[in-house]
Symmetry: C2
C-alpha cells in the first residue's frame, strides 16, 4: 500500500551501512521522540479548546484528585516529575485562566498551595471526556499495543530510577 520508506528504518540502515553500533537503540530513541511529538500534538489540539495544554491538564487533574483540592507546588513537581520552575509556569497559566488559586500554607510560610477552583473542576471533566474520545492521542493504535507500550517503557522508567 505504502511504497514510501519508514524514515526511522531508513536511518537505521544508514547507521548500519556506516558501520555504527547501536542502531537499534538509536531507532528506539528516535521513535520515542517522534511518538512523543505525535501524541503531544493530538492531545494539545483537543486541550486547546479548554484553554489547556497537556502539562497544565496533568497538574490540574493532580490537584483535583486530592481530598482538599489543593497541593503544594513542590508536591506537584515531584508527582509529575518536572522541575519546580515548570510547576510555577503551569500554575501561573492555570491561575490566569481561573482554574486554580494560590493559597498560603497554613503552617509553613515557605509553601504555596495550588487549589483547584470550581471552573477548574468543571474544565477537567470536560477536557477528560474529550481526551477519552481520542484515547489520549492513541486512538489509531490497538489496545494491545497500548498495553505493550506501558509495559516496555516501564522498564525504561524503572531503570532510570523512577518509582
Amino acid at each position: 500500500m505504502d511504497d514510501r520508506v519508514d524514515l526511522i528504518q531508513e536511518a537505521k540502515r544508514n547507521w548500519d551501512k556506516r558501520g555504527w553500533a547501536e542502531s537499534t537503540a538509536m531507532a528506539a530513541a528516535t521513535s520515542i521522540t517522534r511518538a512523543h511529538q505525535i501524541i503531544l500534538a493530538r492531545v494539545n489540539d483537543v486541550l486547546a479548546h479548554h484553554g489547556l495544554t497537556f502539562s497544565r491538564y496533568e497538574a490540574l487533574v493532580l490537584i483535583g484528585f486530592t481530598k482538599r483540592g489543593a497541593l503544594p507546588m513542590g508536591k506537584i513537581g515531584q508527582r509529575l516529575q518536572v522541575h519546580p520552575t515548570s510547576v510555577t509556569n503551569a500554575i501561573d497559566r492555570l491561575e490566569a485562566a481561573g482554574y486554580v488559586t494560590r493559597l498560603p500554607h497554613p503552617t509553613d510560610r515557605r509553601t504555596t498551595l495550588a487549589a483547584i477552583t470550581e471552573a477548574g473542576r468543571m474544565t477537567v471533566e470536560l477536557a477528560t471526556k474529550d481526551l477519552e474520545a481520542i484515547r489520549y492521542g492513541l486512538d489509531t493504535v490497538n489496545a494491545e499495543t497500548t498495553t505493550g507500550i506501558v509495559d516496555l517503557l516501564s522498564e525504561v522508567r524503572h531503570s532510570a530510577g523512577d518509582f
Copy 2:
C-alpha cells in the same frame, strides 16, 4: 526491593477509581512523555561535551550521510519531521559552532544548502562513539526491550501517517 509506588501506575489507579475511561491510554501517553524526558536528558548530557544537542546531532548526521555533504534546509525538516523553523534554529547554531556552512543552491535561488564542515564530520564521529557508549540513552534497558519499543512505536508512527 523498591517499596515505592510507580507514579504512572498510581495515576492509572486514580483514573480508574474516578471512573474515567482509557486509563491505559493515559498511562501510555504519560509513559512516552516520561521516557522521552529521560532519554533526552541522558543524550544531551553526552552531546553537550561536543557543543551539540540531540536535534543538532540528528541534523548534522543527516547532512554527513549525503554524497556531497550538503542538503537543502527543507529536506532536513522533512527527514527529521520537524518544522522548517526548527531547522533554521538548528542550522544557525551548527553554523555558529563551525560544524556547518550555509551555501546557495546552484540552480534554485530560493533554496539554501547546509553543508557539513571538516570539524562537523570530526565531531559527528566523536559524538557518535559517546552515544554508542550509552546506547543512545537506553543503556539501562534490555536489548529485547529496545527492539520491542521500536516495533510498538512504529505502529503509533505509521498510524499517524508517518512513512
